[in-house]
Structure formats: C-alpha cells, structure tokens
Amino acid sequence: MAVPPVIDLTLSQPAQARQAPSFHRLPTVSASEALQELQDGNSRSVSTGLTSLDRLLSGAGGTSSGGLERGKITELWGPAGAGKSAIAIQSAVNALKEGSTVVWVDCATALSDQRIQEGITTLAPKDSHGASNGLLAEFKHVTAATLSHLLAIVLYPPPNFMPSGIGLLVVDDLNVLMDLDYPRYQFAVSSKTEQQKWQASRRYAVLSSLVSGLNKLAVIKGLAVVVITGCSTRMRPDTGLGAALVPGIGGVEWDGGVWNRLVVFRDFSGRFVGVQKCQGRSLISREEVGEIGRVVGFEVADDGTLRERQASRLADDAAAQVKPRASPVKPRKRVFDEVADSESEDVDEYGWAETDEDAIAAEGLIEGAQAATTSTEPG
C-alpha cells in the first residue's frame, strides 16, 4: 500500500491563511488513485545523473527511488568551482526530460543560460530543434535580488508561481543572500543588549521560517527542492586540526528541515560528492566537523554532462597525499584536582603543625578557638 508522505503542519502563519486559502488545501488523493500512481511507476524523484549517488540517496532501506526525492529538500554545499551547479543543472535537465517544469532562483551568481542549453541539447532526445526549445521554455529562471525577495516568493508563493507540472526548484547561492541581511557574527561577542541579542537570533529564526516554507512548497506542489550554498569556516580547536569548511547555512532548525545533504569538493584525484545526510538521517556525527560521509567520484565533461568515476579512491589517495598531522593537543591548564583544598591536604607544606605544637596545647585555653586542626600530622 502506498504510504502518503508525512506532512509537517507545525508552522501555520495566520497571515498566509488569510491571504490565499487555496494554498493550504492539500491535494487529496483517493486510495485507488494512489495505488494506480504507484503502479504506473511515476517517478517520485529526480535523478542527479550519477547512478551511484542516486542509490546512496535512497538510503539503506531502498524504500524510495533514490535521487532527489520530491517533497523534500536537498542541500548541496561546497567550495567554489567544486561542481555544485553542475549537479544541479544535470538534475534540472533530467527533470525537464521527464516532462516537468523547473524553476531556478538565482541569489547571487547568475546561472549561465548557455549551460542549460548545452545540457538540454546533449541529453534531450535528438529530434527537431523545436523540441529542445520547447524544453527550454519549461525552464523558468528568476533572480532574487535580496533576501526579502526570496522570502516573498517562498513564504507567500504567488498564485501560479509554480505551474502544476513543476518537478524541481533550485535556490542557488543562498548563503550570500543570508549573510547580507543577517551576518553570522553581528556584534562583538562580549556584552550584548537585549535588543542585540534578539537581532542576533533573527538569523536562525529566519532560516527556520525559510526551511519550513520550502518544505511546505515541496510537499504541496510535489516538487524536489535543491538549495545550493557556499562555505564558511569553523575552527576545530579540540582536535588540534586546523579550520574546516562547513556549510554557509546552519543552525538546528535548518539542519533539521533538510532531508539530504551533499558535500561537493575537489581533491587531487578529481571531483567528489559526499553524502552527509540522507533520508532525514545524518550519516556523520555533529562533532565530526569535516567528515564527508560516503563519497562518489565524478567528473564533468566539456558539454556539462556528469560521469561517474570509479570512486572511493579517496582512501587510496590517502597514502599518496601529504599526510596532514594535527598540532599537539594542548593539555588542560588546570587539572581539576590540582586546586588545593586545605581540608584534604595531606602534606603539611610549611611544617607549621610541628612548630605549633605548643600553640596547639595552649589552644584549649582560648575561648572560641576552633580546634579544627585541619592538617594532619605528617606521616
């Protein structure tokens, strides 16, 4: 029996409800229709173009069809030039090939139209020129000039913003837009007023609203969402390793709302994409900053198509690489039990107890003198 996707209704904003009631009506499907859909083999996901990656994304259970699942958010992050846009373009072309519409939202760097065209002409069926152009018409390209623009179309989607046949929504370079309005470290770390504390917390609150809005769009319209972000750095003082690259967008709510997370990076042997989170479960622990998860090697051809490389060379390369070694872990400056507690001090440092024996004998004569001789005699 088909299991309908779990829908998150926790965030309901009254303003939205008043504005467009039709937006909140979930598409109701009868059981027989759902079964029919399942039997028809309607694709529930968009392929990334790399079969191993699709398979990794379907998770251990193999319940879903793998790839970029509809109704869910996939995050693609990595340094510049790693190949994030290449994967997103490939997925967009695959979605177009299936007959869905694609909406691409540029947040900073504009997508090159040429790359999309190249992708379509290479992967689309080689019929007439008109067919490729027809596919191109299904690719809607939009720019969000500021974060407010992006929020306006995600939190309050205009009617008909996404036509019914939509399969994929891509948001490109989100971290640049976020950092402009809500920089990560706004104020000096030390004293913050109440107002400043509220402002500092706004970044994560807005990210939380954004991820809820994207999830809602994904579920209601039945589309897959891909968010591309760049990196920032985080120090790793505990392990003695240097700074590591981390996604430019973070926070508990954002991480919780993302269904898959892929890291795209380069190495001496080529490009890799690692699966850090899939099927809603994180494959790496939170503390292991810099861990990359299962990897798939790939390369990008001149015309933009992706090809898999025999992956997992990463481990083999380990021997060939210059071995990075961590700097020495600094021992704690103060060990807990070093702080002298005179109550339990065993050693009489100054030998006072010996010289004061006469004084002790006379102590009883002094009123109120506490006979709490805390230091025991040296053994």
């Binding site: 340094p79 152009n133 309050y156 807005v206 590591a244």
Partner: protein, 432 residues
Amino acid sequence: MSDLLEVLPDFDLKAYIHLLHSLEKNDITVADLISLDPIEIARRCPLPAADVQRLVLDVVAALQEDVQTRADKRWPFNSRWPHQATISIDEVTHTACPDDEARVSTLVPDIDHALGGGLVPGHIIEVVGESAVGKTQFVLGMLLSAQLPPPRGLGKGSIYVSTEAPLNTARLKQMLISHPEYERLDPADRPSLDYVHAIGTNDLEAQEHILRYQLPVAIQRLNIGLIVLDSVAANFRAEHESRTAAGLAERATALGKLGLTLRRVAIENNAVVVVTNQVSDRFDEVRSILRSSSPANSSPSMSTANPTSTVAELRRETQSLDHQQRFFTGWGDDRDEQRNQLKNPALGLAWANQISARIVLKMESERQEYLGGNIWKDKKKARTLRVVFAPWGIVSVVEDELHGEAQGPPDGKHTELLDEEFWPTDEDEEFP
C-alpha cells in the same frame, strides 16, 4: 525599515508613515517584516495589528511584482506568470539567447577558449596574482578590447577605478599602436583612449561612494560596458583589521556589501566587472600528532595509532580549509608546486563568495642560467595564466604559458600583448 528604500525604491509609503518610526526603533528590517508573524510585530512595537498586516501584504505584493519584472527584463522568452501563456516555438527560436551576444575577449587565446569566448556581462571576475606579475597589464588590455564590436568585445567604453596607481595611459597607447589585434583594423574601428575613463580613490569611504552613487550614473551617461577595480584589497588592508575575530567579521560584512554593489552594477547595466586582488603567503603548517603524549593528556580518539583512525582523520582532512583551498584559490592543486610558493588571495573566503570567476596569474620563481666562468644570467621569468573557476562552463585546467621573450610574429598561441616590452619596468609606478 530603513532598508526598504534599498529593497523597494518605488514603494509607496504614504499609507504607512505612522508605522515607520516604531518599526525603525525596534530594528525591524524588511526580511523581519515578512518572516515574522504580524501579531508578534504588532506586539513588539506597539502598533495596530491590522495596519501591520496590510503593510506586510503590500510589501510582499510589491516584492513579487519586482521579481517578475526583473525576470521579464532579462529573459523575455520565459513563460510569464500569472498568465500561463503557451509559448509558440517560433517565438522561442527567434529570441536570441543573451549569452550568444558579446563577451569581452581577454586577447589571450587559450584563456578565451577556457572562458568559452571571453568574460560574460553580469558577473564579477577576479584577477589575482602576486605583485608585478602583470595583473594590471592584463586588465589594461581589456579596457581596450571591450570597445571592439561584438562578439570579441561589447562595443562600449570602459572605466578604470584605481585604488593604488593611476591609469597608465602611456602603456595603453603603446598597446593600441603595436598590438596585432588592433593593427589590422581600420583606424576608424580601432579602440580609442577617448572611451577609457579613469577615477582614483584612496580610501574606503570614497570608494564606496563612487561605486554606489557615481558609477551607475557614469555608466548610463558614457555607455560603459566594462568596469575595472584595481585593486580591491588595497583599501581594505589599510582600513580593516584582520587579526581579531571582530575585525574579520566587520570586514566580511563590508565585503558582502561591496559584492552586492558590484553585482548590482554588473547585472543592471549588463556590464563586466573585473576586480584585481593581491595575495598573501600561505603557511602550510607542519603539524605533528603527538602520539607519545602521556596517558593523562591524550583523548581517547588519538591515543592509539591504528590505521583506521588515520584514514578517518585523513577523510576529515579533506574538508580542512588548508587542503580544500588548494582547489579554489589557484595555488596548490599541483602536487609539484613547492610549498613555499603557495599563496592565498587576499580578503579570504568572505570575498571569494562574492565573485563569479577567478583567473590566476602565477610567476615562476627566479631561475638562473649558468653561462660559464663566474657568470650567472637571470632567466626570464615564465608567467602562467589560469582560470580557477568560472560559472559559464566547467573549465578543465587550461594553463597558458607566457613567454617573456618577444616571439616575433604571433604563432597563434601567444599574442604579442605578452611581449616583454610591455611588462612593467622599474620606471612604472606600480605598487610594489
């Protein structure tokens, strides 16, 4: 709400003036306005909820309209919403894709090929390299090539914004006279110095003012297609501190704003923005794992030197900044490169996130030729040009070796722009 003017310059605020003061006092930005529950906003700054509600809806509608208009302007063949008009195939085929149009050629054939024809309007491209490697030389060539008719150029003028040395007009004139690209054109079609404009800025405040207010006006008035900012790091290094965390955060915010300004200029005027950047040395630390540390000190994860933990650490290391920056800075992804020659582009990841493409100029270290006896002769330094990343095409590494010696007639690979006569000499007032 003070950023409303920037986000929506045409928004009509007449009906909401009574709300503005309170919103401003509580630091509610436009993004806050949209993402927060209006009831909460109304509670936080005491305001009538219904008015806030109406303001929110109006702002949202205006933003959506703005997005639609920009999309229509840039991609006229896009299907429009809300009317789901079906586009006829003829309409689509007749509309030229904007990318088929002009690009700015760099006049270095291999780099042009790596870039797919040249620099694309609407993007920020960074040219980075050590001092005296020839960055200014390289961008000076573009000031002229932008004037060529499409597809080699944009057929428009160019602006040179300098932060260090003023525009070297003597060199430009030399280039115009002797470059083979221009020699074969009629004098009437050749680029001219009349269409190259220059302005100097010595501090960050003046720079910001010029880029935000004066540049858009100049572009419109003078029909400009290329803007060069040489260099971006100079003013930042002078005025922003980079040693404390707070200083870095402040600099990152300023760089973000600069990136936004330049991007807006590039997109709204369909111009190419080229920025040069300086470098700093990269210190690849030799770090050592303290395996023999006393049991009291070592944490469990590092205590045993078994192979699996080494591999795990190496996997973690692939994400370390030191390792990854080999692949997006332009230095370090060749294993033969010597460690003491590695450089980092200035201004860090905060600036790298703002640019669309990066071109790196590298210089080999000095070599000397033994001529016999006690005589060593300095070998001419070889310079290489490379595209590190670019959004309009995945670039397999293309290196163009620039030979210092004059080559005589160009052999198709190396243009005479790179002739040694044109390299900066000591007489030039280049920033050392």
